[in-house]
Amino acid sequence: MAFLVRSVHVGSVTFILGGALLLVVVFYLHRTGPLTSTDVLLKLMEAYEYGFWAAIGLTVAPGVGNVAHFGDGLPGPDSTWGVRFTIKLALVAVLLALSAVRVLALHLVTRTPPEHRSGLRIANLQGLYGATAVVANGAGAVAIAMAHF
């Protein structure tokens, strides 16, 4: 059971990392050889949001289970592991806030009729997905450091 729960945790984080990176690649391709329309990108972003927030929930709950699994053996906040864990949590805080802004910004853009979108800074919305990839990778790197170093 514990292994299954940990697997869900790792699998969800993998989606967060891979999904954001995939979108960055698509944005790059869209700039070098534009896709059919902005709507394609917005649909892709929307699909990512469904998966991202499911993955966040599936990461947080087993994450607490991971902490519980350590029990009284959990290193304190002043230990090397504890400092890394605090850094990881701080990055998760940034990721949560950033992602809430991202889904709200996506709503603002999709709510605007296509013919009136020229006044919106859609490139900034794409930047939010890039920032998601950076922060999520940072948190992932700290997690790897916690597990192996």
Binding site: M1, E49, G57, V67, V92, L108, R117
Partner: protein, 198 residues
């Protein structure tokens, strides 16, 4: 029975004019952030060690079920809060309106959490009584759950309302940030038509 089902359906239905992805995203954000704040506080204060542990992995399953109940409750509260905030044009509402509707959403979440939790406890008790224990254990469990819901409803509404108030402030700040990032919504004939006359 049909009335109860239709009320449950109404509780979790997507408000008109609000995209489902927004309800899903913000509801998940609220549930995850609530748990995260508790964990982060415990980590910084040094109280995390052993806090969630019960010495065996049963705590993991109970924690997962509790989080799913919290997630469902957050979904209902977020959907009803967004509905009350203006069904599709909440981004143009005043800050105080958004904050007060956040409190309403928290109230809905608190009540949903309590009632869903009671159903889960009763369901688990029923399964346990049928599979491993004598059925005579059920009446005390039912009585305890009813008493728990009675006393808990006060705390659920108060705590839910307070958490919703905080969520309303946070959401409003995040919405203002999102508007600053992508720019203000252009004035369109369609958007103007949806805005009530003041």
């Amino acid at each position: 029975m049909r009335t109860i089902l239709s009320r449950i359906h109404d509780l979790f239905s997507i408000p008109a004019g609000i995209p489902p992805v927004l309800v899903w995203g913000m509801a998940s954000f609220h549930a995850a952030t609530l748990v995260f704040i508790v964990v982060f506080y415990l980590q910084l204060s040094g109280g995390l060690r052993g806090f969630f542990s019960d010495g065996q992995d049963a705590g993991t399953v109970i924690g997962l079920i509790a989080f799913v109940v919290l997630w469902l409750s957050s979904y209902a509260g977020t959907a009803r809060g967004l509905e009350k905030a203006g069904a599709g044009r909440f981004e143009t509402e005043r800050m105080i309106t958004l904050i007060s509707t956040g409190s309403f959403g928290g109230f809905v979440s608190g009540v949903t959490f309590l009632l869903t939790g009671a159903v889960v406890v009763l369901g688990a008790g029923l399964v346990q009584a049928i599979v491993v224990g004598p059925v005579k254990d059920l009446p005390p469990l039912l009585a305890l759950t009813v008493i728990g819901v009675g006393f808990g409803s006060f705390f659920a509404t108060v705590i839910g309302g307070l958490l919703g108030l905080v969520a309303g402030v946070l959401d409003t700040l995040l919405l203002k940030t999102a508007i600053a990032v992508v720019g203000p919504l252009p004035q369109t004939p369609a958007a103007d038509a949806e805005t009530p006359a003041t």
